[in-house]
Each structure stands twice: as structure tokens, then as C-alpha cells.
């Protein structure tokens, strides 16, 4: 039976390989037909910024990889609304459609999961 898996991503891309490697595990979870959601918090919101070009630092472009998530069947793409407010970001800044969640919404999503990981 498919598990409900939430990936909580809170690291900025490019400063380390962390974001990219975590994203690879998100894609594989989706390939395994799990019920995958992603919640971006804090510096992790920077993964969603438009206009990224990883080639400039010899890496893959995280924003472009994220764009594939809906095709992979990743149903939930959530962004921490308080993080967005703190960073001065709005939906128009993001490279794919996301759902902004306040703290109550995030608690609700977490409580629906079998597994939460990074």
C-alpha cells in the first residue's frame, strides 16, 4: 500500500548539494507511486525562485527539476506562508504553482502523513 510521505525542504539550493540530493529522493518516492507531498520552509523557499541557472555554478538547475514534480504525480506542493512573508516572497516569485499554508494548515498536512523526512 502506498505511503503518504512528506518531504520537508528547508535548505537553499547551490550553497550545498543538500537541496538537489533531497529532490532526487522526492522524485524516486514519486516513481515508486507513493503519495508524495513537499513542504518548503525557511531558506528552502529559494529553491522555488524563477530564473535559476545552475549551469553558472556547474550544477543542475533545481528550479527546473522542481518543475517536473507535477508530471511525476507529486500532488501536494506546499509553501510555509510565514516563511514567504519573512523573506518578502509571493506566489508570483515562484517557478511553479504552490499552495501557501499557515501554521494550522501545515500542522494539518503533517498529521495526514505516514512519514515526514528531509
Amino acid at each position: 500500500m502506498a505511503k503518504r510521505i512528506l518531504f520537508l525542504l528547508n535548505r537553499a539550493p547551490y550553497g550545498s548539494s543538500y537541496a538537489l540530493e533531497a529532490l532526487e529522493s522526492v522524485l524516486v518516492a514519486a516513481l515508486f507511486d507513493q503519495q508524495v507531498s513537499v513542504l518548503f520552509k525557511g531558506a528552502g523557499l529559494h529553491q522555488l525562485l524563477k530564473g535559476q541557472d545552475g549551469a553558472a555554478v556547474g550544477q543542475r538547475t533545481v528550479g527546473k527539476m522542481l518543475g517536473a514534480l507535477p508530471e511525476y504525480g507529486v500532488a501536494g506542493l506546499f509553501v510555509c506562508a510565514p516563511s514567504a512573508a519573512r523573506l518578502g516572497l509571493t506566489e508570483g516569485d515562484f517557478c511553479l504553482p504552490v499552495t501557501l499554508l499557515d501554521h494550522d494548515g501545515q500542522r494539518r498536512i503533517i498529521n495526514e502523513q505516514d512519514i515526514v523526512t528531509g
Binding site: 540530493e21 532526487e24 529522493s25 524516486v28 518516492a29 515508486f32 505516514d114 523526512t117 528531509g118
Partner: protein, 148 residues
Amino acid sequence: MGLWGLLYCRRHYASLLAVVVSIAVHGAPYASAAARTALGFVESALRLGHRVHRVFFFHDAVLLAADSVVAPQDEQDMQAGWVRLQQTQGIELALCIANALKRGMLDEEARRRYGKPAATVHAAFTVVGLGQLIEAMMQSDRFVTFAG
């Protein structure tokens, strides 16, 4: 019995039931305490009668498997603790292949395929695809991540 008593019983009996646990270790050895804390957790889980399906080393945590580490004499040898668990209890210690290769962590098969001078992964660890991380999640009642 009041509500709190019932809740207490639910918690109490849950802690007595054996479950299947898998864990992911994310933090690098020495740059973080992840591998040390995870080892204490797994040793307790086994002692309490739970089954540990897989330990999955991800990100810089794959460096724990370096075959040539020499632990300082006045510190706990963390790798040795994990190796002992694998040898005595058959716990699967899995390295993410994508994370391992780029950090120079090669098993014999990878050494041959990429024409490198030496295999670098301790024999107690296996190098596996990311699918095994997801399989561990699917096969386990609980999944715990030990972050860096």
C-alpha cells in the same frame, strides 16, 4: 479510568509492541552527531525487541563507511559500532549510490566499472539505489531521520 488514563495505557502498550523501524542518517560523521545518535537509537530499538529493516546513509553520512578510517584512541569508534551491529545482528547498512560515488565511496563493483585504483567502502556496508530508501519507508512502521 479517565481520558488521561486511557491515553496513558494506549501509549504504554504501544511501547511494548514490536514494530519495524527504518532510519535515514543524513549528517556527516564528525561534522555532525547524526551517526552517533542514530547508533544509540538502533541499539536501543533492537534491545527492546523491535526489528530494524534498513539503515540508509544519505548526503555526507555515506562517509561513515570509509574503509580506511582510523578512529582516535580516546574516542568511541563510531564506524566500529555500526559494523558490529551489521555483523552480529545482520542489520543492513545501505549507502545511497549517487551520494556515495561522487564522494569517492566505491564498492568493488563500482571500482571496476569506473576504473578506479581502490574500493573504499567497508565490507559491512552495501551500496544501493535510492529506491531502497523508499522501499524501507514502505516496509516499515516507523521511519526516523537523523539530520546533520
